[in-house]
């Protein structure tokens, strides 16, 4: 029997490994369009901004508007509500009220419970989520779990005294 050239085996091993890596990379690259196709499409991404007219909301009243398909609570707070919110620092996720508002008269928060994504109901002071019992105060801060975080403040800006645009700060 002929003696094998040791470099032949090495070369074969190397080529097998190289082919496997290139083939694997090809399969991985092919997966990209499939995975990416499941991300939000352009028309979904286009609903990024929402204008809200504040003039129709009386003090103490709340409007719910849709932004990116999610409900956003716009609460016109009374002086008492502002005072109560400023005095406390929240509960589970402490944060001063001043950091959560641009104008303390207007609280704008995403109305999606940070626990499992239900829409909390306005009840008494603040909100209560009926899915799992989380409670939020009039600054949208969580005061009773299981929600881990305060209601999210979306990026928004005042376009006029009585108009805000949600989506861009």
């Amino acid at each position: 029997m002929e003696k094998e050239n040791p470099s032949v085996g090495n070369r074969r091993n190397f080529l097998i490994k190289l082919t496997s890596v290139v083939g694997g990379a090809g399969v991985a690259a092919t997966c990209v369009p499939f995975v990416a196709s499941m991300n939000p499409s352009s028309d979904v991404l286009a609903k990024a901004e929402t204008d809200v007219d504040l003039s129709g909301i009386p003090p103490g009243g709340m409007h719910t508007v849709a932004w990116q398909g999610k409900p956003v609570f716009v609460l016109h707070r009374t002086p008492e509500q502002i005072k109560a919110s400023a005095e406390s620092n929240g509960g589970i996720d402490p944060e001063p009220d001043s950091k959560r508002v641009i104008n303390p008269e207007w609280l704008v928060v995403v109305g999606v419970c940070t626990h499992m994504g239900c829409v909390p109901n306005k009840e008494g002071p603040g909100w209560e989520c009926h899915c799992h019992g989380s409670q939020y105060d009039d600054s949208g801060r969580v005061v009773r779990g299981p929600a881990p975080k305060n209601l999210e403040v979306p990026p928004y800006r005042f376009a006029a005294d009585n108009k805000i645009i949600i989506g861009k700060a």
Binding site: V35, M38, N39, P40, S41, V44, T64, A66, Q68, G69, K70, P71, T114, H115, M116, G117, C118, V119, P120, N121, C129, H130, C131, H132, G133, G145, P146, A147, P148
Partner: protein, 420 residues
């Protein structure tokens, strides 16, 4: 003439030998009770679900604008559409019902023990597929419960480390559950049953390799096995008759009892119903999710609670075969566990108050504790029972099993010896 055709086929495909080996002459323990019917029943329900589902898909439209109305179209306008839909909706509950009994039987009789671990694990995989299929199917009517159920469950993936938010958006294809979510759930709801059929085939190959366990817990000698046909075909068919009576009572007389009234309201992303509950078969796991005050912890606990069953072959350290049959402590544990499941189910159903949250937390602890203590209790119980004395056949089986293990060890060490 037919025999010549079969002969022609047999020369090219193992038809007769397959039918003999796996259907007619398949050796089955003669003492199988009706608890051994439920695997067959699950297979029948799978066929019913696929059949009704395909015909429903001919009339259903997966589009947020029309899917709720297309269900009404099926219920009112399509010939026998109401029947197909009620069979399909009731069938989902029936599927979980027979699978839960199938699993409860396995746990009671210790059928997960060696050599049936892979059989048990393929079954566990099928349970996960079934849960996923049921969950995605529930979104399709696009009612309030559909929408909020899907919202809550897709939100569970926010517990993914670092990329949680992106994962949720990717799953939904939108910032909220929307049209993209509905269409992909429909596509996958159509696909998954075929994965389940594949899984069932693997499950059956595993079963026919290790053969059925039986209520005595003792491997029966060949003389105690009888051919599957006609003895168990007839027993399974009798069980099927009883099952179909119960199923028909639900389909024809109380079809709405398993459908949440809130799901007759079209989905509204701006308003969560005051009381959202999952379908009854998810309630215990849902209660565990709610009981853990930390969000990630709750998701992990819920995932683990479904997967705990897979660990049973490792957790149960008793060498006594037959599960609860010869083991009074295991039997007690088993019934306490079932009771705990019922308590969790109740807690999952009611509106969360301080009391029910506390009860849920205690029941959740009991749930995991009952798995955690299995290794210790089973070992202790084994020592106690051996001292007290066991039936002769059980002792013989234990001896032959330990001999097998010794042999395997010896072979293994010899094998290793040669290597070194």
């Amino acid at each position: 003439m037919p025999s010549r055709i079969i002969e022609w086929i047999d020369q090219r495909f193992p038809l007769t030998s397959f039918v003999k080996h796996d259907l007619t002459d398949y050796p089955t323990p003669r003492n199988l009770s009706y608890w051994w019917n439920f695997g067959f029943l699950a297979g029948i329900v799978l066929v019913l679900q696929v059949a009704t589902g395909i015909f429903l898909a001919m009339h259903y439209k997966a589009d947020v604008a029309v899917s709720f109305d297309s269900i009404q179209h099926i219920m009112r306008d399509v010939n026998y559409g109401w029947l197909l839909r009620y069979m399909h909706a009731t069938g989902a509950s029936a599927f979980f019902f027979v699978i839960f009994i199938h699993m409860a039987r396995t746990l009671y009789y210790g059928s997960y023990r060696a050599p049936r671990e892979l059989l048990w694990w393929t079954g566990q995989g099928l349970l996960l597929l079934l849960m996923a299929t049921a969950f995605m199917g529930y979104l399709l009517p696009w009612g309030q419960m559909s929408f909020w159920g899907a919202t809550v469950i897709t939100n569970l993936f926010r517990a993914t480390p670092f990329i949680g938010d992106q994962v949720v958006i990717w799953l939904r294809g939108d910032y909220t559950v929307g049209d993209a979510t509905l269409t992909r759930f429909f596509a996958l709801h159509y696909l998954f049953p075929f994965l389940i059929i594949g899984g069932v085939l693997i499950h059956l190959v595993a079963l026919h390799s290790v053969k059925s366990s039986n209520p005595s817990g003792i491997d029966l000698a060949a003389k105690d096995n009888i051919p599957f046909h006609p003895y168990f075909t007839i027993k399974d068919l009798y069980g099927l008759g009883v099952f179909l009576i119960v199923y028909s009572v639900f389909v024809f007389f109380m079809p709405d009892s398993l459908i949440e009234p809130a799901n007759n309201i079209p989905a509204n992303p701006m308003q969560t119903p005051n009381h959202i509950v999952p379908e009854w078969y998810f309630l215990p796991f849902y209660a565990i999710l709610r009981s853990v005050p930390n969000m990630v912890g709750g998701v992990v606990a819920m995932g683990l609670s479904v997967m705990m069953f897979a660990f049973m072959p490792f957790l149960d350290r008793s060498r006594i075969p037959g599960g609860a049959r010869y083991r009074p402590l295991y039997r007690l544990q088993y019934y306490l566990f079932l009771l705990d499941m019922l308590v969790l189910g109740y807690v999952g159903y009611v509106h969360p108050t301080d009391q029910t949250i506390l009860v849920g937390q205690i029941a959740t602890l009991c749930y995991f504790a009952s798995f955690f203590f299995v290794p210790f209790i089973s070992k202790m119980e084994e020592r106690w029972l051996i001292k007290r004395g066991l039936p002769a056949e059980v002792v013989t089986l234990m001896k032959s099993e330990s001999l097998e293990i010794e042999k395997r060890k010896l072979k293994h060490s010899r094998h290793n010896g040669v290597k070194s």
